[in-house]
Structures are given as structure tokens and as C-alpha cells.
């Protein structure tokens, strides 16, 4: 669940980036309409809320809040570096984090 919270945090930032013209063009190679940008930004806000819920659900309010904003800072750095060097690979960390969550969950269930 910790991994899920981190993955959602990253996905939220990716959605925010897709809501900005310069990053949208770099990732998807087309110019977004104003409506589309707004849609991505809304999705980003929703994902950020979901990430907060997941973080608090896993670690409690106090630690969960900390996990939430620390994970978005770390994720943001990774996203920024990917946008600068390999914008088309931006979705990879989200998938990797989700997989870690699933693998971790299965391992925990197995124990």
C-alpha cells in the first residue's frame, strides 16, 4: 500500500505535467486544447487526493501526510529528469511503482 501511495503521487504529477502545454507536447507530441489541459489538471488533482487517502490508509494520518508530500517531491524530481532527457518514458515509473506494490502485496499475503 505504501507503494500504491507513491505510485498515485507520481501519476498525479504526470497528469499535472500533461496539463501543461510544453510537457504535453514533449510526451504525446501534439498540442493540447484548453479543455484537454483542464481535464488533465483535474485528473491530477483527483489522483493527488487518492494518493493522500492511500497514504493515510496505510500509515495513519501523521505518517501518511509525511509520506504523501515526501513522495511527491521525490517523484517530481524523477519526472523532471525524464521530461528533460526521455519524455516518452515518463509513464515507466508509475508502472514500476504499481508493480512493486502488487509484488509487495503478494509477498506480504504469502507470508
Amino acid at each position: 500500500m505504501t507503494w500504491l501511495a507513491i505510485a498515485l503521487d507520481y501519476a498525479a504529477l504526470l497528469a499535472f505535467a500533461l496539463g501543461m502545454e510544453i510537457h504535453h507536447r514533449a510526451i504525446l507530441r501534439r498540442t493540447p486544447s484548453a479543455g484537454r489541459r483542464l481535464a488533465w489538471k483535474t485528473a491530477g488533482a483527483l489522483l493527488l487526493v487518492l494518493a493522500l487517502i492511500a497514504a493515510i490508509g496505510t500509515q495513519g494520518v501523521a505518517v501518511g501526510l509525511v509520506l504523501w508530500f515526501v513522495a511527491w517531491a521525490g517523484g517530481g524530481l524523477v519526472l523532471t529528469l525524464l521530461l528533460a532527457w526521455r519524455p516518452r518514458w515518463c509513464w515507466l515509473p508509475a508502472v514500476a511503482l504499481m508493480l512493486s506494490g502488487v509484488v509487495g502485496g503478494v509477498c506480504a499475503a504469502g507470508v
Partner: protein
């Protein structure tokens, strides 16, 4: 117009509030980041010490040891191993001295520890707020640096024109200070909540030092109990007379109740030999941010009955405990602790790029304005080298010395620290005698070799194949790669 004037003022403030404490802040960030893994660093530096030992067994050894060496001491304290450390330390007081005597024990056998003497992660932790200066100067300077950092953060936000729009923007232009400024902004904006909390909590931790008046006022009104005098039956030379309950029994019962995962972390026995004797057991951290959320059980050492403790509450205490706990991050599980480490690294990068930006900006001015201000440029640029690459090289020297200084040498723990000081002095000297560009290039190259060699040295000198040593190897290699890239970039492009 008004907006421009305000922004200019804030830019000026950000420049100087950032530069003046900049080097100290950089050193504090480097050592603080390392301190998140304080017990792990100690474990890496004592590869011969056992790992994952039982707190229950260790505690029983410690109590037996204290009963033997300090049967008459009025106070005992024991620091027990937990999931992160296998260190077992015992402390006792011999009146009239206030100072505690201490010993480090083998947690499995109970004899004096035979692992090599080292300060381990404690070195970084102490450096982080004492700066290797005599007490209390380091703490004062660290506090001023934290206060300046808050000023720099607020004025930095006011300076930034496109805070949200440029949140993820890093432009890889070849020259100028654009990429530096972008990286400075990205690392600053993304982790802004972390920096604000870390700087503010640092100030809260030391409130009692720079604002002692509240405590003094309470003392004067008699609301704060005076420090207990160091007495006890021992002072009279009679030895403990009232010691009816076995500490061992209470400890064993509690340790079994709490379980191995979060067992007893600390045992305190006070006023031994008097009717007021108490036994306090503190449980290992976990689950809550606040330091006051620690689970503590207190017993009378005469009757063995638990003592109810009056809960000290109040919003000030609650907030203070949360901030202190946040700063130390002992509550964090490994994933969250790694994220904190990344935050610390981002803070290091923010401070480092900030320092570099000052020289880049000044260099543009110097080339256009002719003479004047060259001494300032020289001083700042060389100090930058001495701290930004010199200090990490000195930290690498600490780990090298840990494996190269003979285990049996007297005062070897001090020699590890001397290695840091000597190396740092050499890098600083090198920074000041070499031309700027060559200074950076050569120190980056030395850093790459120093960090890159550490995992190999580890394998050659008793390191194990486990998660801990693999994790250290990964961080060392990453630092080496970073230094290597820096050296390569500087030797490729022509001089600016």
C-alpha cells in the same frame, strides 16, 4: 513598478541570506542526509559485529554486567539493540560525579564488545548540529543557518516568477546559468514543504538554548522541579538497602509482552537503594511521528507496581513533539526513510546549485564591468569547491579510514575523524591554489575514485554480501558516477 521593486528586494535578500550560511547549510545537509542512516552506517563500519540480535538476551546480559561492575550506583541506564542496530551500551553514575560512565557490550555474549572502536554514524549525526566545533558554538551556528534558510526559502518563493508553471521544467541548454537555475528551482519547489518543516523544526529543537527565559521564569515561580541532586544510599557508603524487586524480572516480562519486533529500547533505573527507586522501560519507536508518542512503562523498584504517569499535554508540547519527531524521522519505515534520504540529497543539490549560481551570476558581471569584486569572486568560488566536492571527499576518507586504520590501534576511532579533517584540509588547500576550473575537475575525479573504490574496499576487508552492504555499494557507486560525470563534462567543454 511596485511589484518589481519588491521582487528586486527579495532577490537581493535571497542572494545574501542564501550565500552567507550557504556553506554551513551544505555541510549540514550532507551530514544530516547521512544521519537518516545513522545505525546502518555504524553497522557498515563494524562488519564483525553481530546483526539482528535479541533485545531480551542483550538486556539480561546488560543487567548482569551492571550488577557486577556498579552494584552501588544510584542510576543505571541501558541502550538496547533493535531492528536497526546491534549496539548494546550500559551507563552508570558514580556519585558525586554527575557524568555517567559507560561500556559497550557484546549483545550475544555479554562481555565487553570486541568490535572495532568507531563513532560510526554518530559522527555524521554530531557534525550535523555541532559542526565539529566546541560546545555550544556549533549549535548556535547551526541555528543561525536554519533561521537564514527560512529567510532564503520565503524570499526565494517571492523571487520565483513561475513557481507552478516551471515546476517540472529543466532546460538542458549548453551554456549560461539556465540549467543551474532550473535545477535549483526544481529541487527547491518540489520539496518545499520538507525544507520549511526541516528548518523550522531544527529551530524548535533548540528553542531552550536561544530562548531560555520561559524555563527560567518557571524555575523562579517554582513550577518546574529542580534537577535532582546526585545522592542515593551509595553516597553514604552503605550500599543499596531497599532493592526488593528484580529489575531483570520486570524487564523480561515487559520485553516478552512487547515482542521482538518493537521491543524495549531503553532501561532506566533511578534512585537505586532508596524507597523512591524506579524502573522505566521505553519501547522502540514506530507508528507515530511525535517523540512524545513513545510507549513508556514505569515501575516502582521497591514494590514492582506500575506507576501511573501524569500525561503532560498541551498544544505547544504536542506540536513541538511532532516537529522534533519529524526532524529525526525515527518513525519512518525503510521505504519512507529512503525517501527522506532523497529529500536530503535534493536539499544538498539545492544548496550546491545555489552556491554555484552566485559565482555564475557574478562572473557575468565581472566580465562586463571590468575590475572590482574579484576578491569576493575568488573567495566564494574556492570555498564552493572546498565544500561542495571537498567535504564529500572527506566523508569518503572517513569510510576508507574505517577499513585501513588497524582495528587494535589505540584511539583508532579518533583517527577516523582525523582522516576526515586532514583530507578536508588538503582539498581546501587544493581548491585555493588551483585555477577554479581545474580545481573542480580534479576534485570531481578524486571523488569518483574515492567513492567508486569503497564497495571494493568493503569486499576486501570483511564486508558481507547482504542488503545493507549492497545498499551502501549502490549509494557509493551513484556518488562515484555523479563525480565522474562532473569531471568528464569539465574536461570536455572548453574553458568558459
Amino acid at each position: 513598478m511596485k511589484d518589481t521593486g519588491f521582487r528586486n528586494a527579495m532577490t537581493w535578500l535571497h542572494t545574501w541570506a542564501g550565500l552567507l550560511p550557504g556553506w554551513v547549510l551544505f555541510a549540514i545537509f550532507v551530514t544530516g542526509t547521512a544521519s537518516y542512516f545513522r545505525p546502518e552506517i555504524t553497522a557498515w563500519m563494524q562488519p564483525e559485529a553481530p546483526r539482528r540480535v535479541s533485545a531480551l538476551v542483550a538486556g539480561q546480559h546488560a543487567l548482569a554486567h551492571l550488577a557486577e561492575v556498579a552494584p552501588d550506583a544510584p542510576r543505571w541506564a541501558i541502550s538496547l539493540p533493535d531492528a536497526r542496530t546491534s549496539e548494546l551500551k550500559v551507563f552508570w553514575q558514580e556519585p558525586p560525579a554527575r557524568r555517567f560512565k559507560s561500556a559497550e557490550l557484546d549483545p550475544q555474549g555479554g562481555a565487553e564488545s570486541t568490535a572495532r572502536k568507531t563513532y560510526g554514524g554518530e559522527f555524521f549525526y554530531r557534525f550535523h548540529f555541532q559542526l565539529m566545533l566546541p560546545h555550544p558554538w556549533g549549535r548556535w551556528i547551526a541555528c543561525f543557518a536554519a533561521a537564514f534558510m527560512l529567510v532564503a526559502l520565503v524570499s526565494g518563493v517571492a523571487t520565483h516568477r513561475r513557481l507552478l508553471a516551471d515546476m517540472f521544467l529543466f532546460r538542458r541548454t549548453r551554456d549560461g546559468r539556465r540549467p543551474w537555475l532550473d535545477f535549483h528551482n526544481v529541487t527547491a519547489v518540489l520539496a518545499l514543504p520538507f525544507y520549511v518543516l526541516i528548518a523550522y523544526s531544527a529551530l524548535v529543537v533548540f528553542t531552550h538554548m536561544y530562548m531560555p527565559w520561559a524555563g527560567k521564569a518557571l524555575d523562579a515561580r517554582g513550577e518546574k522541579p529542580a534537577k535532582p541532586a546526585v545522592t542515593g544510599a551509595v553516597a553514604g557508603g552503605e550500599g543499596p538497602t531497599v532493592d526488593t524487586v528484580s529489575v531483570d524480572e520486570i524487564f523480561t516480562t515487559t520485553a516478552k509482552l512487547w515482542g521482538e519486533e518493537r521491543s524495549v529500547r531503553r532501561i532506566d533505573v533511578t534512585d537505586r537503594g532508596t524507597p523512591g527507586a524506579t524502573i522505566t522501560l521505553t519501547r522502540a519507536d514506530g507508528g507515530a511521528v511525535s517523540l512524545h508518542a513513545r510507549e513508556v512503562s514505569k515501575f516502582s523498584a521497591v514494590t514492582g507496581e506500575p506507576i501511573e504517569q501524569a500525561e503532560k499535554t498541551g498544544p505547544g508540547r504536542a506540536v513541538g513533539g511532532w516537529l522534533y519527531g519529524f526532524h529525526l524521522a525515527r518513525f519512518a519505515d525503510p521505504v519512507l526513510r529512503t525517501l527522506f534520504f532523497v529529500m536530503g540529497a535534493m536539499g544538498t543539490a539545492m544548496t550546491g546549485t545555489g552556491l554555484a549560481l552566485w559565482t555564475l551570476k557574478r562572473r557575468e558581471k565581472l566580465s562586463s564591468a571590468g575590475r572590482g569584486g574579484r576578491f569576493g569572486y575568488w573567495l566564494v568560488s574556492r570555498l564552493n569547491i572546498a565544500f561542495v566536492t571537498g567535504l564529500p571527499i572527506a566523508c569518503a576518507a572517513y569510510f576508507w579510514a574505517n577499513r585501513l586504520v588497524p582495528a587494535g590501534l589505540a584511539g583508532r576511532d579518533q583517527w577516523e575523524i582525523n582522516a576526515v579533517l586532514i583530507t578536508w584540509a588538503v582539498t581546501a588547500l587544493h581548491a585555493f591554489v588551483r585555477p577554479e576550473r581545474a580545481g573542480w575537475r580534479e576534485q570531481f575525479a578524486v571523488g569518483a575514485v574515492a567513492f567508486g573504490g569503497l564497495p571494493l574496499l568493503d569486499l576486501a576487508t570483511g564486508g558481507r554480501f547482504d542488503g545493507l552492504h549492497a545498499g551502501f555499494a549502490a549509494v557509493f557507486f551513484a556518488l562515484a558516477a555523479f563525480c565522474g560525470l562532473g569531471a568528464r563534462k569539465l574536461s570536455k567543454t572548453s574553458a568558459a
